[in-house]
């Protein structure tokens, strides 16, 4: 059989990661280890909450990454609608997925914090509730992407939803904060992401490092995911060509 596919020349034949990607992976690992050192050893214990306060670092930095990821979805959605280039759609899809993963972290570490300091698993606290709704919005976004039909239709519709969904976020947050502050006695004070006592500079250093390492992790995951998605598309095309050759 004469081949029309130049498999050896295609970049995805071996799925070998690029140098930049490998450098980033190592940078991520090192920075995560550093932030662990900073969190557990370097940063002082908070006086009232003791160890539990350390949940704060992972909770806040995941929330930051989730928000960043959804913001990226928003920007890329606009760019897709303007330029109609598939690459933006691929990036947006993977970014939403990673955003959902980090939102899940926010929503699991939040209740653990709540349980330990307020003795209840779920607090209808503005930031936590907003995360929950955010989670639902982007699950819907992922469901749109799994619709049937050609990719350009799905890309267009999910881009529209990516824009609408992101603009909804601040309004959701505001509504929930009002709902809380006006109709419930203020038992909880501020949310889990704001600590009772003053922020010691060491804690801030640890938080910033953790945030940077999670952001790096986000970049690595995004890169990897997009790379695999591209490879998947290429493989689909090869399969299509093969099928045509076998049939016709």
């Amino acid at each position: 059989m004469k081949t029309t596919l130049n498999l050896e020349q295609e970049p995805f034949t071996k799925l070998k990661d690029s140098l930049v990607h490998r450098v980033l992976v190592w940078a991520t690992i090192i920075s995560i280890l550093t932030s662990f050192y900073l969190i557990f050893i370097y940063a002082p214990l908070e006086t009232t909450m003791r160890e539990v306060q350390k949940i704060f670092y992972i909770h806040v930095s995941s929330a930051w990454v989730a928000f960043l990821a959804f913001f990226v979805v928003f920007v890329l959605s606009i760019m897709y609608l303007v330029t109609r280039k598939r690459i933006y759609d691929i990036y947006a899809g993977i970014s939403a997925e990673i955003g959902v993963v980090f939102t899940t972290i926010v929503m699991t570490t939040g209740p653990i914090w709540a349980r330990s300091s307020w003795n209840t698993w779920w607090a209808w606290e503005p930031r936590l509730t907003t995360s929950l709704i955010l989670w639902f919005i982007y699950l819907a976004y992922i469901m749109i992407r799994q619709m049937d039909g050609a990719w350009d239709k799905k890309a267009r519709l999910s881009a529209v939803f990516g824009i609408i969904g992101f603009i909804d976020v601040p309004i959701v947050f505001m509504a929930i904060r009002w709902w809380q502050s006006k109709f419930h006695p203020i038992v909880f004070g501020d949310g889990p992401s704001q600590k009772g006592g003053g922020v010691e500079p060491e804690m801030l250093v640890a938080l910033i490092t953790m945030t940077i390492s999670f952001t790096l992790l986000y970049v690595v995951l995004l890169q990897k995911g997009v790379y695999l998605e591209k490879a998947k598309i290429t493989v689909e095309n090869w399969k299509e060509k093969l099928r045509e050759k076998l049939v016709g």
């Binding site: 039909g149 990719w151 350009d152 299509e240």
Partner: protein, 234 residues
């Protein structure tokens, strides 16, 4: 009247049109022929402003269709395979609704005239859903020309029609032609194409492969050229 430049349309990973260049003068009647999946209907849909081309441009009356969308749309009458009619409405209600959307003046009078023209006066107040295919197609053609378009685009208008409906349809098309309306028709029915049209375009694999004028309704010429281009090559 109609000009397309390097039209390319991709849906997903499939390329449907691969650079279509077309130029149709005012008053011409053009038949687009070609095998299934060649992209005939897609060309029509792009001209009808229903789908956006991936690249390339369409000019109607020397106006870019994206920039002058509303103006261009009101010049075009589009009759696809589906009827585009509302089932629960009577022919009259359908025509009045679309007449209003197209900004037709004295819409009720125009609608009644058209219904008479397609021979459905007796069914003025019956809902469309009780009609046969032939009757629906007659209302559909009336709908497509309710605003007296300068261009009509027909997508396999003769498929599934009885003889009487075909006669009425051809009468309407030829009448429009006599008034100088530009007609583009996608069809599999060579006989009707030869009868109505004075120019034939053959499309294959998303490209125009032949484009010739037809005189004296020369059906054999169409058959010969078509056979040469589509079967001869494969």
């Amino acid at each position: 009247m109609i000009q397309t430049k390097q039209l390319i349309k991709r849906v997903g990973d499939k390329v449907i049109l691969r650079g279509v260049n077309l130029s149709i003068k005012e008053g011409q009647t053009v038949a687009i022929l070609g095998p299934n999946g060649a992209g005939k209907s897609t060309i029509l849909k792009v001209i009808a402003t229903l789908i956006k081309p991936s690249s390339g441009e369409v000019l109607i009356n020397n106006k870019e269709i994206k920039k002058h969308a509303l103006e261009v749309k009101s010049l075009i009458g589009y009759l696809p395979h589906a009827s585009l009619l509302y089932d629960h409405f009577t022919p009259l209600e359908n025509l009045i609704l679309f007449g209003k959307l197209y900004g037709v003046k004295d819409v009720e009078k125009r609608a009644k005239e058209l219904i008479e023209k397609v021979g459905l006066s007796f069914f003025l107040h019956e809902p469309v859903k009780s009609f046969s295919r032939g009757m629906i197609q007659r209302v559909a053609i009336a709908r497509a020309i309710v605003h007296e378009p300068r261009i009509i685009l027909l997508d396999e208008p003769h498929t599934g029609l009885d003889q009487q409906a075909i006669v009425i349809l051809n009468k309407v098309i030829l009448e429009m032609k006599a008034q100088g309306t530009t007609t583009v028709m996608v069809t599999h029915d060579f006989k009707q194409a030869a009868e109505i049209c004075d120019r034939i375009i053959i499309v294959k694999n998303g490209k125009i492969v032949d484009d010739f004028m037809l005189e004296n309704n020369n059906l054999d010429l169409v058959f010969d050229k078509y056979a040469l281009l589509t079967e001869g090559v494969v």
